[in-house]
Amino acid sequence: MPDHSRALEAAAWAAAEGIATADQRALLEADPAAWRLILERLMDETEDSLDSVSGIEGPERAQVVGDFEADLDRLEAAYDLLLGSARSGSEVLIPTADPTGEVRLQASWANGSIVVWAGGPDIVAHKNADLSDRLEALGGPKLGWALHADVALPNGLRAAALSIPVEEALGWLVVAVGGGQGDDDGVGASVRWLGRVAVEAVTIVAQGRIVPSLRTHRQPEGKVMDLAVRWSPARVEDADVARLAGAMPGPVAVLSRKDARTVTLEVIGAVVDAIALEAGEKLERPATPPVIRNAADVGEAFIARLDGSSFTAPIPAGAEVSKRLDQWAHQVSGVAKTTLIVQLDPPDRGDAWFLSVLGRGAEGGLLPIEQALTDSKRTQHLADEIVRLERLYDKLGRAGGLRRGQVYLSQDEAWELMTVTGPALESAGFEVRVPALSRRKPSPALRMFVEPTGERVVGAHQLSDVRWSAVFGDVELTAADVARLASEARPLVRSHGKWVELDRVDLKEAAAALAERADSTRLTGAEILRHVVGLEGTPFGSGLSVEGSGWVTDLLQKATEAPTGPVTSPDGFVGELRSYQAEALGWLGFLDAVGLGGCLALDMGLGKTPTVLAHVARTLGNGPALVIAPPAVVGNWAAEAARFTPGLRVVVHHGASRASADELAAEVADADLVITTYGTAVRDVEALEQHPWDRLVLDEAQAIKNHTNETAQQLRRIVARTRLALTGTPIENGLGDLWSILDFTNPGLVGPRNTFVAQLSGEGEVALRALNGILVFRRTKTEPAVAAELPDRIDELDHCTMTAEQIGLYQAVLDGLVVQAESAERDVKQGAILAAITALKQICNHPWNYQADDKPLAGRSGKLNRLEEVIDQVFSADERILIFTQFATWGVRLAEHLSEVTGQPISCYHGGLARGARDNMIKGFQEGTGAGAIVLSLKAGGTGLNLTAANHVVLYDRWWNPAVEDQARDRAWRLGQTRTVLSHRLVCPGTVDERVEEVVGGKRRIADLVLPKSSSLADLDPEQLRTALGLRPDQLLAEDDL
């Protein structure tokens, strides 16, 4: 026999014996047809065996024949079940049974008591002690047991038994057995079945489906009878009883010898009665009449004995009351019969809901109850049911000129039926059909419908007619609708196909919001946009939606039409944009399409410059773009344009040699991108405003956060088709900063400053959200999607200016060197040159670094200015920064200055400090949170420290060996760092500082610093010295050029 067939046969045997494993069940259920064939073959074979052994003689015959007969019985039972389930179309049922040879706890039903014993097929426990142990192990009741006569099984075995009234075993049966909360090992199928039936009874009582009766018992030869209150289940579902009865294991009925349905109903009845009598016992009741003579006395005793205790009454009186009670409860007691349907139809118009009662007619169809009463085969039953329903739901008795079983309900009554009365009617056995409802109240919102007036003005000045409405879910309400609903006892609307009650507070707010805007019936595009982004108030704590047509709806439509695949490699761009940069590029395209300006607010280090360059390259041909940036990043703009958009014609307009006003036109005509500084732009504003710029870009636009300053005012004179502001900190000091930027990019569009600040809901990043994607494009490094794309470090080179004081000192030191070099000996000359290089580097840092003085540091160094700008941005983001310098004394002074400027205590870590002080300083910085900075000398702090609390590094001055700088930066960029580290190198172009940078950058060797072929610094003549170390005016960023 193939292995599969053998496995199938073994599974069929196991299933017939009720011990199939999960794998065996799966095998059989996968192929019921094969299962059936195997059962048929096994039955044939077993019957053949039975025939052959029936002829044998001797003492073993009965045993052998019995075994084969038992096998055949099991196979036939399994076969019947399989065919039964196949006929009913239900799932294949694997029969269950207690396994052969295993003793389990069994339970039999015996007239209101449970009789337990232990046994299984062909085996029993003979001693009560064994049974008690087993009960205790299974958590059975400790009290209430009584000895019971041995249970005689059909095979002749006798099992020791104990019995317990069902009320004493209720908790165990329901909780431990029925609910599966107890130990299931050793519990027989009969016990589990009784627990399951007890659960069914508990369900009936919990749902109130119980009725009382008065049980009678006539005493022999007497004139009196015993009476006791009993409770019975009502409206029991016939299918439930049948299912339970069909699954009743044989041991349950071994004592009662009743059919399964009768036993099932008896068990349910007993459990129901036990629970209800316990409830009656706990009730405070009147006293029983001392003498019961008549039906009235029986009635009083009925109330007094709701605990189920019996009382005696004359037979006529007791029988009369008992009979009357039976007749009274007859309509609902026992198995449920066909009942009525209560149907509620929502109103087509108005507020009247139609309720109708339906019953089944003779043909089985549903008819209005009045018609069903004349058409049904069971008119009396329907008549009783409608009386019962009318008793429970008095609205049906309301006079209204309609037929019986029909009534109109108000909104309030309909809602009550849907939510409260309906479930009560269902508990009483009626079927209730009501429209779907939702208890989740829809959130309100305001909506404006706009339609251009037809005047020829377009854009932000376009006038539109405006209609206002309130929206609850998908339900739009006019002011009149809101007023009507607010006046109703129960404001119901149909939302998303379900009836829902509106909140009165929401309605009141909606009414107020609509009333407030009632006069705003004609608005400009700018005014509509202000409403949309919440700058004119935010009723219900949210924005409003706009529908219709015109500039704003077009604008919003375009804003929501996010490109399905953001372009990461746009035309004209060499390289690949990150996803958020590509999204920003899409947003810049949107701004162009709708003619709006905007604020590109990517966090520092997220690559605003390449994004804008990609946009300029992509829209080439529309005219030149003017970029105005701090001098420190002008070089960066030029360098990144050369790297990413080499096709762009770039002009850097700054410095003394920049184009004059007359020359500017020719320069601009040949340029795609003109880069200048804020200082130069203000100085040359008259020349710049003569040119039709396609776009004006302000980098580090916090420079205009004060809208009244000279720079902000003058730059407004420059006309461009669109204006773009770039900043990582659009709300550095509050929403006023953002207003200044947005009012510059879209003059007048965002309304007055005070209104803007007052109406924009929330603070900080929350406020930005309302504008995000329309006037602002904001992304931060903390957004997971952004962080995932960032490299772990970004190095930036910042070009810094030289102040007049720095230039003067620089020139003086160089002049002194030249004079000294002319007369000095070779060794002395070489030493002087090296000392001068150090001095020049110090001057680039700050005049104080070269020559300490008592004057304040502020305003005397371009590098210091840039450092302060960087710190400003870092602190705005609540982040921490390391500042490295090779000059320890300067570091100490710098730290003092920065502490004064920022208001934060900033220390300097250098080799002159005691070990403990240095350790505490590092510990304090590393454990600190929020904004913070520390200055470190390159020599003492450049190695060995772990400063991952910082994610910004500034290399204030340069060292000859790039490895030393890398080591310094790696204090922050190391294991344990979870954020991108942004490193700034500060360099003064056109100075010795830049030449060191060239060495560090690998463009020169130190020996070539001065002259490529010089073998020694001392060999240089004065002119060569000036060339090597002197200022290069064409590269120098003088403070004047700001």
Partner: protein, 95 residues
Amino acid sequence: MTQPKKRSQQRRRGGGGAKAKPVDIWRPVPPLPAPEPIAPATDPTALLRSIGAPPLRARSDMAEAYLLAVSERAAGLATALAAAAGLLASPPEAD
């Protein structure tokens, strides 16, 4: 001579056997599905109220009040049992 039909073959054709089968109390039975979660009625007195006061002459109204109280308390006990058995249905969520 024809062979008598086997008992199992008769079963397959829907026929009953002539011989009465002995009672097998260990015969396998179909398993019952796990009980449904029990959802107590919001008003367990509704069914009793629907049939009105019990016909106890002058004491009807008082009797009805007592019966409703029993019904309510019994539902409470049953609910407690259901909860202890872990069979209580969760309250419906607002949708």
